[in-house]
């Protein structure tokens, strides 16, 4: 199914409506908003989806970084934390990050769900309770283990893990008719990736939903602690605010699905009540550390399904709330992203780029938020009312980053690397595991020297049974404001330990189905059966 022009408006070009009336306004069209929109629209509710980014479709996806980063990502794929210590890759287009993610799909680990239940009094999201919702989403988005041989970049992760006796497995992907091109991060040019852009959003529109792209939710309309609607600002083609408060949406219910930076920022702009000072806090990033290996043969890490093998050898090694565990995966490598991670200039940089096709890259993403010393970051507004994220790297996280760096470098030598370059400003290519280990042990724990990244933003509107440590309850309903729910990755009270899209999908399916029943909508049979 593909998006038609019908029921869509682009506020960069089209004349905005002065007022829109609907049952539900959904702010954001990513993993959360996409699922919610489909379920609500199929249940007969009138829905308006608001998306800050542009509506782009397969014909616009040229497998070129130059075009993709400008068009489909927040801040040219270079969003940063306030102190510039962490670079954040985050999508900003219809479909949200699902339009540009690398398709890795994992169910939420049991340990994470149990931790939430125990520490945040979260109800209804146990492994068993979520299981039917996972199955529903996996069918809906054609999620299954990647059946084609991994590309060399991923295969080398398997080779190294096997050699060291570390566990590894195949990643499930949300694709249908994938041609194994390797350009998921620039938007799928053949509509194989089952992102929200080609699945739930078109289905919602077919069921009567309206989509407004290039529109930002400015603030909620609040009357006596009741949410009555939301003000929209129009955005221009560059992603900057064109005109503030152009449209007033009057809705029975507003659902924030703007992601873990966006959703808290709308609440902050709305001056929503925050009696326990929890809003925008506990924002988690799965901080990523990475290393590059030079192999004897060409790897061509730019071609083929970007992520198909992973290792959880160290994810829970020290218990759930001990030293920070980490998941090992590989990133795809394309010229712009890779060349800008090699932070040198002149001859040195050119020498590094010469062997580009021979590079294999590993990454480790750290499970933040499970430890008292890992409290995440904080979203606030800058002078322009634009969100920014402050994220300080704690001592526990520094220890985790160093351990993770050691593991991924060791794995690369085990896989036959000739040389390894851990991504740290004080590193150079090393020719043996021993030398690399000595180097990593000495790395200064400095935010700007250690090249840390993130592709998973979570938290900031945490859910929980205890108002004093959360923003919304286990159903996503705001603790203080009526008619307001949050349904996206910002609900998570900790990070997950796995790539987040599938968790967001399943929780969004469950919470939005509950909402349909509260609003007396007609839940379709496939979902109604899951509720029984």
């Amino acid at each position: 199914m593909f998006l038609s022009e019908k029921n869509t408006k682009n506020y960069a070009k089209d004349l905005p409506a002065e007022q829109i009336d609907c049952d539900v306004a959904i702010i954001g069209s990513g993993a959360g908003g996409g699922i919610v929109a489909e379920i609500l629209a199929r249940s007969g509710l009138s829905v308006v989806i608001v998306e800050e980014g542009p509506l782009r479709t397969s014909g616009d996806f040229k497998m070129r970084e130059k075009q993709a980063y400008a068009d489909l990502y927040h801040e040219m794929a270079g969003r940063q934390t306030i102190d510039k210590g962490i670079q954040i890759l985050q999508g900003r287009a219809v479909g949200g990050s699902t339009t540009v993610n690398w398709t890795a799909s994992f169910r939420t680990p049991k340990q994470t769900l149990e931790f939430w239940e125990k520490n945040f009094s979260i109800k209804g999201l146990s492994k068993d309770e979520l299981s039917p919702w996972f199955s529903w989403v996996e069918t809906r988005l054609n999620i299954s283990p990647w059946a084609i041989a991994p590309n060399k970049n991923n295969q080398l992760l398997a080779v190294g893990a096997k050699k060291l006796g570390w566990s590894y497995d195949v990643i499930s992907r949300n694709v249908n008719g994938c041609a194994n091109l390797g350009y998921c991060g620039m938007g799928c040019p053949i509509n194989a990736k089952q992102s929200m852009l080609v699945t739930t959003i078109p289905s919602a529109i077919q069921n009567g939903a309206h989509l407004i792209s290039r529109a930002r939710a400015e603030s909620l309309i609040i009357d006596n602690e009741k949410v009555k609607g939301v003000w929209l600002s129009s955005m221009n083609e560059l992603g900057q605010v064109k005109q503030k408060n152009v449209t007033k949406i009057i809705a029975k219910k507003v659902i924030l699905s703007a992601g873990a930076i966006g959703s808290p920022s709308i609440l902050l702009r709305s001056k929503a009540p925050d009696p326990y000072n929890t809003l925008g806090k506990r924002t988690f990033l799965h901080p990523v550390t990475a290393s590059i290996a030079k192999m004897k043969e060409k790897v061509e890490a730019f071609y083929g399904a970007p992520q198909s093998i992973y290792s959880d050898e160290f994810l829970w090694r020290d218990g759930v709330s001990g030293e920070l565990g980490y998941k090992i995966e590989v990133p795809p490598m394309h010229p712009v992203l890779s060349s800008t991670l090699l932070v040198n200039h002149g001859k040195q940089h050119a020498e590094l780029m010469k062997n580009f096709a021979f590079y294999q890259a590993n990454l480790a993403l750290l499970r933040d938020g499970f430890n008292e010393d890992s409290v995440g970051g904080q979203v606030s507004l800058d002078v322009n009312d634009y969100p920014r994220l402050d994220y300080k790297i704690s001592d526990t996280l520094w220890r985790g980053l160093r351990k993770a760096m050691l593991s991924i470098a060791e794995l690369q030598f085990a896989a036959g690397a000739q040389q390894v370059l851990p991504l740290h400003m004080d590193a150079s290519f090393q020719s043996s595991w021993l030398k690399t280990k000595l180097l990593i042990d000495k790395f200064p724990s400095e935010k700007l020297r250690w090249q840390t990244m993130s592709a998973h933003v979570m938290g900031g509107c945490g859910m929980g049974g205890d108002e004093s440590i959360s923003v919304v309850n286990s159903s996503g309903t705001h603790h203080q404001l009526e008619n307001l729910s949050v349904i996206d990755g910002s609900l998570f009270p900790t990070s997950l330990g796995v790539n987040p899209q599938l968790t967001i999908y399943a929780i969004a399916a469950k919470l939005s189905s509950q909402l349909v029943q509260e609003m007396n909508g007609q839940l379709p049979d496939d979902l109604l059966n899951l509720r029984l």
């Binding site: 102190d83 041609a179 932070v343 002149g346 050119a350 580009f356 096709a357 021979f358 322009n384 700007l448």
Partner: protein, 178 residues
């Protein structure tokens, strides 16, 4: 102290400590040759910024082969298009950085280049870039990282630069007619 205030403090301290020299530097500034003519409608980069980039960019790319060379004006256009998509706050920070570099005080205190940019040798530019990269001041490190990302990213987003790195571009897809 935030970054903007920090930059301002450095600038004002420099003005105080420089005394008469600043007037001389100012004179030097007026001797600048305007940047190469370019019909592109720059929305962020000023002529001053481009004079600066004309000096810095070749040093950033000095190791690249002739086949890889991307024209300077294409690089500057990419930089301009990138910056105007960043948040207004980030744009303001970059404006401060460019203004500071372009000012005599900035060159003197931060980049250690006494004469104006156009007469700076590539060795001295290379030296200041390396010093910034490894500086103990966060401000200088982030300035290096910022310039690096803008310049290197703008070069490797162009096909020309791929010729000697073993990247043949994306696979060609044939679409069946619908």
């Amino acid at each position: 102290m935030n970054r903007r205030k920090f930059i301002r403090n450095i600038v004002s301290t420099s003005i105080l400590s420089l005394g008469g020299i600043s007037a001389y530097q100012y004179y030097q500034q007026t001797q600048l040759v305007p940047p190469k003519k370019d019909d592109f409608n720059y929305k962020f980069l000023t002529e001053n910024d481009r004079v600066l980039l004309e000096v810095i960019t070749p040093v950033f790319l000095s190791g690249m082969s002739y086949q890889q060379s991307v024209k300077l004006n294409i690089i500057f256009q990419n930089i301009d298009s990138a910056i105007i998509r960043l948040s207004m706050q980030t744009q303001e920070e970059l404006r401060d950085l460019f203004n500071l570099l372009a000012s005599a005080f900035g060159r003197l205190t931060l980049a250690n280049i006494w004469l104006n940019w156009q007469s700076a040798s590539s060795e001295s530019v290379d030296l200041f870039l390396t010093e910034w990269r490894d500086s103990h001041l966060d401000l200088l490190q982030t300035a290096y990282r910022g310039l690096h990302k803008l310049i290197i990213g703008s070069v490797y987003s162009e096909e020309h630069s791929w010729s000697t790195i073993g990247y043949a571009g994306s696979p060609k897809i044939k679409f069946a007619q619908a």
